[in-house]
Amino acid sequence: MRLKRAKTKRLLLSSDLDVGFSLVALAPFFAAALAPLLFRFTQGYTGWLLAIIPASIFIYLLSFVEAMADKQLISAGFDWIPAYGLRFSFFIDGLSLTFALLISGIGTFIILYSGAYLKGHPHQGRFLAFMMMFMGSMLGLVLADGLITLFVFWELTAITSFLLIGFDHVRQASRRAAIQALVITGGGGLFLLAGLLLLHQMTDLWELSSIFEYGPAIREQAIYPVLLGLILIGAFTKSAQFPFHFWLPNAMEAPTPVSAYLHSATMVKAGVYLLARFSPILGGTVEWSVVLTVVGSVTLLWGATTALRQSDLKQMLAQTTVASLGLLVVLIGIGTEKAILAAVLYLVGHAFYKGAFFMIAGGIDHATGTRDITALGGLWRTMPVTFVAAVVAAAGMAGLPLTVAFFAKEEMYAILTFKGTWGGLFLANLSLVIVMVLGNAMMMAVGLAILFKAFFGEIKPTPLKPHEGSFSLWAGALVLGVFSVWAGTQLGYFSQNILEPAASSIYNFEVESKLYYAFKMLTTTPFIISALTWVLGVFIYLNIDAIRTWLREFARDLGWSFDAGFDWLMFGLIGFSDRITRLWHHGRLELYLVVVFVAFAAALLIPMWGTFALPAMSDVKTMTFYEWAVFVIAMIGLVAVVVAKTRLMAIVSLGIQGFAVAMFFILFGAPDLGFTQFMVETLTVVILALVMTRLHLDQRDSRMPLDLLRDGGLALVSGVGVTLLMITILQTPLDLRLSELFAQTSVPLAHGSNIVNVILVDYRGLDTLGEIAVVMTTGVAILALIRIRGGGPQTGVGAKKPQRGKSRAKKKTAASRQAKTSRRASAAKASA
């Protein structure tokens, strides 16, 4: 079992730190709110002013470096919703600090760069506001301690990314890319939320810093794979891992500062951060290692080969970013000391050189008006500073000595010699190393291609005349490039203050890096593999045109991409909605009724199936011949309704069935009810017939055989349902209180010995009066109908147009009849 946390002290802090920490995440938001206003007054200098904020955050964070070097863990925050034990809390350890320093440090230059890049753009204020908001979200994310705090900032990065990608919202491509990014990262966020809530459910804790201690216990739970899956989906969508990788290249529709900042240096690393953060809690299991290494490897190779296919500068960089993210995931998945060190080194190195490269690409685009690598050449003459920055960045991308990335490669290739947790899995390690070598070589080739194709060779005509950009445009790239080399040379300081604390946070053990330069390195296995990578990289670069052509043909032959798959899914969703609408809301009343009756039948039959046993049919045997006869008459009536050729036939046949029911009432001792039923039936038939004279009585209502089958089947099922219900109900003992009351009180109270008569004229006297009134009103209505018979409306609705409502009227009466009959039936039962 692992230790809970090596040499970690939890500091109790003063409230100053609470405020300080919260400000780190919140100050950019305040700045964002002010940015558009500020822009009105300061115009072109807004970028310079706003850059003060990330710069101050960077300096403030530097003050924690020493504490982190002691492997401390500092937490701070406020109570948020005390009722639920929620705190708006932050904590900082080596990992958080590394990320936060990268975010604020690179952020400073990006804000400067944005000011210059969008010079003269009318919505620059809005853009800077979005950028600051994003910065705040990202800082909040890496500093978050509370699970909910983490999630809130996580989704905020997705939303700000959406706003930034869609910044140029007039263009269809931007809007699509923005929506795609939001759907995928936001959707992944929901999985993450589910995972975080599950984690809370398991531990009953809200704070990450306390949950670390439960790592081993969590990994033993049976539900661990589910938790792992949810968190991984969240991380993979954010960090553009296969098969969610396609949104990242599309996100390059955003202005270049966004691509440099969000989609290479910071936001896409959020998924990697999450994996690193949860590594002590979820890591180290077979599931973890296998899923991460496999997914990461596929992403690495996929991204690297796709990068070779591109000729657009930003697309090349975007695809190599996908590949780099895959590499980071592989390293975290391997999870050994060396691998974690490699991951941190690579993370830092990549942020430096890729951020620089994007800014260079933006600078070139700004200066020449094109980003197509085949249309560029000889820029070193006209853009000397940018050229220097590009050389340094390409060195970083290739992992040449003196850069951070060099050590990252050294450490990652060292897994070949490692025989720890993975035991004898030499083959697995070997294949991983091969994957890494291939990936790194291809990425190096892309870096070389950008450097050599764009800056060397002959000058090609470009839309704009190439010129060196302003200070803000190249400063960032140059500084990042220089940092890359600085960190690679100041090994002692860098390892002790950044590398080891961060690696220890992920690894959960004290990690010691032994980085050095020496001649003996030249003979170690990792160095030999590195050298091999360089050779392979140069080889690929030399053949890049042939490879590009070949890959493009291959992609064309494939004819399908994940991007197209996303469209298919989204249009599928809309199509699905349309189909649902058509299925449910065609506007045809007839089919609406079908739905209602299906629900009706289901409500009748399903509970009977599940809860109650089917009733016994014992009474059928005791039926007399005349009961059978009436039953058969009723059946004939029903069949006649269904097969009737004309409407008049159908109406009359419906009457037959009604009369048969009245006969039943008489047979079972309710003559009053029987006579009422006769009267109602007669009236129904007469009214229906009269109404129908206005709707063409002789018309034939032909049904399609399939419709006939559907309607008939439905009627049968509903009928069987009601019958079964009736039989079931009849088997429960009858409540005889009312009948007994009538029997006892009929003579003494009402002075009548015929109970039926007494009920009609005395007990229910008012009811009888009401019924008579109804019958009389109906009679009057019939009279009115007879008088207007044959006329029909001359204008407006229904005038001499073929009516569509033929079956409606029939069903309507069936429905009201059903209601009536049931009322009668219950009344009959009561008075029986």
């Binding site: 919202h169 929901l190 589910a194 969703l573 809309i574 699905f576 909605s577 349309d578 649902i580 609408t581 449910w584 809301h585 506007g587 009343l589 609406y592 009724l593 739905v595 209602v596 299906v598 629900a599 009706f600 409500a603 009748l604 509970p607 809860t611 109650f612 219900l725 079931t728 109900i729 429960t732 409540d735 209180r737 407006g796 609705v797 409502g805 409606r808 069903k811 309507k812 429905a815 009201s816 059903q818 209601a819 049931s822 009322r823 039936a825 219950s826 039962k829 009561a830």
Partner: protein
């Protein structure tokens, strides 16, 4: 049975209903004998409804009347205030466009008042028979209102569909009621519960319950009894749709709550299953089906179906928090819909009133105020904090979680996320598409309604939120 009505004062709990009933008859007479009085009658009806609203709010008379058939409690008062306010505002919305929509007839005001009376009886029903009378009074008025624009084939079709399906649902309801009576021997809601509690769980009562709920599901337009909603909403004149979408929903929901909480409390396990099914089906279907809509009113119809599903989430919890949640939900839902319809009715161009979502293109430029209110309503309908719609959903989902209905809550949140798709599309159309048509100036009273509802929705948390929660708490408390 002895009468419980000793004096006129003992009728106090039913004063609002009596006032409205007499008022409706007076309006009818006035309409018959005074020529061209429809506009004035609408004004009188609005005044009457508002007066009764005030009466319901300030008059604390509660009690049971008419041999237990009628109950006035805090719950009824809360819901009645919503119903009355909803009806009054729906009438206000029709003032400027009655002639265009073919409802400038004196019967319009009378029918709205009668329907409102029916709804109040529904809210106060304490007996299956009173319940049915209330439902039918309301429904018959609504059928006529739907088909009021007689020269329009769409409106006639809407009226007919509404009537046929409504009659069917009434039939089911009656069938259920008779089964309940047959098996419990009681029609009074609280006495039914007593009988059920004492006897075994009988098949007749279960089926009766199922049929009653099916009938009521139709009234709240819960899936699978929702088919009429989009067609009727679209076909009926828009101010009538505004009325349909607000007050009757509140009344039906109140009735549903009272029925299941009062009469079928002992059968909670059974009705909860049905309500949960209705809730999930409504939320999910509305979320998906709404996406494909091009007609604005149809989209609102699906939105209504979905929101009824969300409200039912609170009811399925079946606890105090849940009922409180539904009460809050209905109030907020009512406000949002009135505001939304005020916006829609204010948008008249030379081609007539807006029908399709695409008609709203570029509204942010031509009518920024209306566009802003619509956008607020859309965001609130999605449930984005800090707008009122968020708190509505918050309360019901909280109740579901408290009742351990996690799956229901998760499905609800997902459905809510999917439904954002179609709400946001309206916002996108208004703000990012190029304007296509000019609109005539907004009538003053509609601008006022928009302003007031918009203000309430935005400032809910700061202004009315706490008061509403208190009221809802008292209201829900009277059922337990």
């Amino acid at each position: 049975m002895d009468s419980d009505l000793i004096s006129f004062a003992s009728l106090a709990p039913a004063y609002p209903e009596l006032f409205l009933a007499i008022g409706a008859v007076v309006l009818l007479m006035a309409g018959v004998f005074i020529k061209n009085a429809s506009a004035r009658l609408v004004g009188v009806a609005i005044g009457m409804l508002l007066a009764v609203t005030v009466l319901v709010i300030i008059q604390p008379a509660t009690g049971v009347l008419f041999n237990g058939g009628f109950i006035q409690d805090d719950f009824a008062r809360y819901m009645k205030a919503l119903v009355l306010a909803g009806s009054a505002f729906a009438l206000v919305l029709s003032v400027s466009n009655a002639v265009d929509n073919g409802i400038a007839k004196f019967e319009y005001a009378v029918l709205v008042v009668l329907a409102t009376l029916g709804m109040m009886v529904m809210v106060s029903a304490n007996d299956l028979m009173v319940l049915y009378i209330g439902i039918e009074l309301q429904a018959l008025s609504l059928y006529i209102l739907a088909a009021m624009k007689r020269e329009s084939a769409r409106a006639t079709e809407a009226g007919l569909k509404y009537f046929v399906l409504g009659a069917l649902s009434s039939g089911m309801l009656l069938y259920g009621a008779s089964l309940i009576y047959g098996f419990t021997g009681q029609t009074q809601l609280d006495k039914i519960a007593e009988v059920i509690l004492l006897s075994d769980r009988s098949v007749g009562v279960i089926f009766g319950l199922a049929f009653l709920l099916a009938g009521l599901a139709f009234k709240v337009s819960a899936v699978p009894f929702h088919m009429w909603t989009p067609d009727v909403y679209e076909g009926a004149p828009t101010p009538v749709t505004a009325f349909f979408a607000t007050a009757p929903k509140v009344a039906a929901m109140a009735l549903l709550i009272r029925l299941v909480m009062d009469s079928f409390e002992p059968l909670a396990k059974d009705w909860q299953q049905i309500i949960i099914f209705l809730s999930i089906a409504s939320m999910v279907l509305a979320a998906f089906a709404g996406i494909g809509q091009k007609n604005l009113i149809r989209m609102i119809a699906y939105s209504a179906i979905g929101h009824m599903g969300f409200a039912l989430v609170g009811l399925s919890a079946g606890n105090l928090v849940g009922i409180e949640g539904v009460a809050i939900y209905m109030a907020i839902y009512l406000t949002m819909n009135i505001g939304l319809f005020a916006c829609i009715l204010s948008l008249k161009s030379n081609n007539g009133y807006v029908r399709n979502i695409s008609d709203l293109a570029g509204l942010a430029q031509t009518r920024p105020y209306v566009a802003a209110i619509i956008a607020i309503m859309m965001f609130s309908l999605i449930g984005l904090p800090p707008l009122a719609g968020f708190f509505a959903k918050w309360h019901v989902f909280l109740a579901a979680i408290e009742a351990q209905l996690f799956v229901l809550a998760v499905i609800g949140v997902l459905a809510s996320a999917i439904s954002a798709f179609y709400y946001l599309r309206v916002v996108k159309t208004m703000y990012f598409d190029a304007p296509e048509q000019e609109f005539v100036p907004i009538p003053g009273e509609l601008a006022f309604v928009m302003g007031i509802t918009g203000f309430l929705v935005i400032s809910y948390y700061l202004t009315v939120g706490r008061t509403l929660v208190d009221f809802a708490n008292v209201a829900a408390g009277s059922l337990f």
